[in-house]
């Protein structure tokens, strides 16, 4: 039992070290690319709590991501001078509020009905944000300046692409460690019990509904965090990011990388973005045609995703 754990942490440290030095060696375009992979990976990872661990496919994660974006935007626009931590707080609050709302209603339903309900909730918020032009900027969204990276009383430096990368890396790493701890805690075990056999989990005496609500809220909170990071990186919030295509992409990350692994979605996000980037050189804006075909083929032939596939290969 000891050896796999040791090699796991060695691998973890090696990859972390590579990601830390990445911005120093990579050119500007790829530096930004790696940062973006981390952010989308965090979104995928948050969804993995539901898909991989609780067995609920949410097709509405864009709403948490988008509300994180708009929450951060609200704080950055309202408070002068713009404060990074206030943006984080406000974005997380917005995501948490909408997550508890969605969780309360959607968790009463199962399987396909849960998927459709989450999808519909995200579309409701999309329509609201899209049409409420006075507050949200409507179709154009909101633009704002990037706040400085600061710890009050210690230092304050403007974000460069390196420091932004390290900041994102730190947030994603901490989130990963928290989520990993959660999935291995008794709470996470109950979630997996619900995935394996819901009636039995209920029969043992667990309040399945309450666990599901907490799982959706937790997942929504981390999806909101990813949205805040994306808002800070790109200096805007737009309704496109509340649209369900983003939720679909988060599901794609999970399927491609491997559900129920937490690391899988990050691998999936990297694979998806690289694939799209690489193929867009040949297919320009139609790169989603081959990507979609590869995705569909992976659903059929590789249901465990890249990571599950690699694991099985290594064990052979």
């Amino acid at each position: 039992m000891r050896r796999p754990a040791t090699s796991y942490w060695i691998g973890f440290c090696v990859i972390l070290a590579l990601l830390v030095v990445a911005p120093l060696v990579l050119p500007e375009f790829w530096r930004r690319f790696v940062t973006e992979i981390l952010i989308w990976g965090l979104l995928g990872m948050s969804l993995d709590i539901l898909i991989g661990y609780t067995g609920m496919v949410s097709f509405g994660h864009s709403v948490f991501f988008g509300l994180g974006m708009y929450g951060a935007a609200a704080a950055l626009l309202a408070v002068k001078p713009a404060n990074l931590w206030l943006a984080l707080l406000s974005g997380l609050t917005a995501a948490a509020v909408v997550a508890s709302f969605v969780a309360y209603f959607a968790t009463r339903l199962r399987d396909i009905y849960f998927a459709i309900t989450t999808l519909v909730f995200s579309q409701i918020f999309y329509v609201i944000i899209f049409t409420w032009t006075e507050v949200t900027g409507g179709e154009n969204g909101l633009n704002f300046a990037r706040p400085a990276l600061s710890i009050p009383g210690l230092f304050s430096v403007p974000f460069t692409s390196e420091t932004l990368h390290w900041f994102v890396l730190a947030v994603v790493t901490v989130s990963f460690l928290i989520l990993r701890r959660v999935t291995q805690s008794p709470f996470g075990m109950v979630l997996q019990a619900i995935r394996e056999n819901e009636p039995r989990a209920r029969a043992i005496g667990y309040s399945v509904e309450r666990y599901k609500i907490v799982a959706v809220m937790l997942s929504g909170l981390f999806a909101g965090l990813a949205g805040i990071l994306y808002a800070i990186q790109n200096k805007f919030a737009a309704p496109d990011f509340v649209f369900f295509l983003i939720s679909g992409e988060a599901v794609i990350f999970n399927v491609m990388g491997g559900m129920g692994t937490l690391v899988g979605p990050i691998v999936g996000a990297a694979f998806f973005l690289l694939l799209r980037e690489g193929l867009s050189r040949y297919f320009t804006e139609y790169s989603l045609i081959p990507v979609g075909i590869i995705f569909t083929a992976m659903v059929i032939f590789m249901p465990q995703g890249l990571l599950g596939f690699a694991k099985r290969r290594l064990n052979q």
Binding site: V57, F59, F105, R108, L109, D111, I112, Y113, A115, I116, T117, L119, V120, F121, Q123, I124, V127, I128, F130, T131, F244, G248, V251, I252, V255, E285, Y286, L288, I289, V291, G292, I293, F295, T296, V299, I300, P303
Partner: protein
């Protein structure tokens, strides 16, 4: 704020017309779900492909009705290919994997349409150009014809399911797939046929919808979402329920657009869906399960 009676009447007719087109889409979707537990996320894209195929045929031949038939048959054949190539391998797996697979297909089809037909909206020329006066409004006969034709197609489907040999097989397989197979019904080919029928009906509604509004590669997602809402509100796998729900939801949206803008009126149907799921998850128009 009072709303004049004539506006309510116009919206009622609008709602009925839209409802019949939606019913054509939704009955295919619910048939597919009922017989093979497939949640077809790409159903709206089939509507969109049908509309584009119809537009191309119309441009070549100049005959709308021919375009309607060609598009229906072409997309039905395409649906059969889709079923064999992507959905058959997923048979017996979690229904959620079919959502994922058809979601992938919908991405491909949407971008394919963009590539093939370009980003600009196309409007099909309506075959019936006459209008009649409805209060202060010139109401086109074509809309009425659309509703009647949709009703006729759905009626034909109903008769086919009720009396046709193949239709009886389909209903048997919907009730109990394993038992139907044991009785010697060729369930695998039924699956192909049902998917083809559903795809063909989606394509037909796409062509009928074409003259009412511009056809772009984005209409698919909208149709998928609305058809989902209708199918859930009507009760999954319940044909009559989803037709009633189509009309119900379309009327709701039509009346709501009297008060708020049409893009916000969609929220009304979203709320209807959520309320249905919370209080009557088996569907509004089905008898209470015992």
């Amino acid at each position: 704020m009072g709303i004049p009676f004539d506006q309510i009447l116009i919206q009622t007719i609008n709602g009925l017309v839209n409802g019949m087109i939606l019913a054509l889409v939704a009955s295919g979707l619910t048939l597919i779900f009922g017989i093979m537990d497939v949640v077809n996320f790409a159903h709206g894209e089939l509507v969109m492909l049908g509309a584009f195929t119809g537009a191309t045929t119309l441009a070549v031949t100049g005959n709308f009705w021919l375009a309607l038939i060609v598009a229906t048959l072409a997309i039905a054949a395409f649906g059969a290919v889709l079923q064999v190539s992507t959905l058959r391998p997923l048979l017996g797996r979690d229904p959620l994997t079919t959502i994922l697979a058809t979601f992938g297909i919908s991405l491909v089809l949407q971008k394919y349409a963009l590539w093939q037909w370009g980003p600009s909206a196309r409007k099909l020329q309506e075959p019936i150009t006459g209008q009649f006066t409805l209060f202060y409004l010139q109401y086109p006969w074509y809309r009425i014809a659309t509703a009647l034709l949709s009703a006729a197609i759905i009626g034909a489907l109903y008769l086919f399911l009720k009396y046709g040999k193949f239709g009886i097989w389909i209903r048997a397989a919907m009730q109990d797939r394993v038992m139907a197979q044991a009785m010697g019904i060729p369930v695998p080919s039924l699956h192909i046929a049902v998917f083809a029928i559903g795809a063909g009906m989606a394509a037909a509604s796409g062509v009928l919808f074409g003259p009412l509004a511009g056809v772009t590669q984005n209409i698919g997602a909208d149709f998928t979402l609305r058809a989902f809402i209708v199918v859930v509100v009507g009760g999954m796998g319940n044909l009559g329920g989803s037709i009633l729900a189509s009309i119900f939801i379309s009327l709701l949206e039509a009346y709501a657009s009297l008060i708020v803008s049409p893009s916000q009126a969609v929220i009304v149907s979203f709320v209807a869906l959520i309320l249905t799921l919370l209080f009557r998850p088996t569907g509004l128009f089905v008898p209470t399960p015992k």
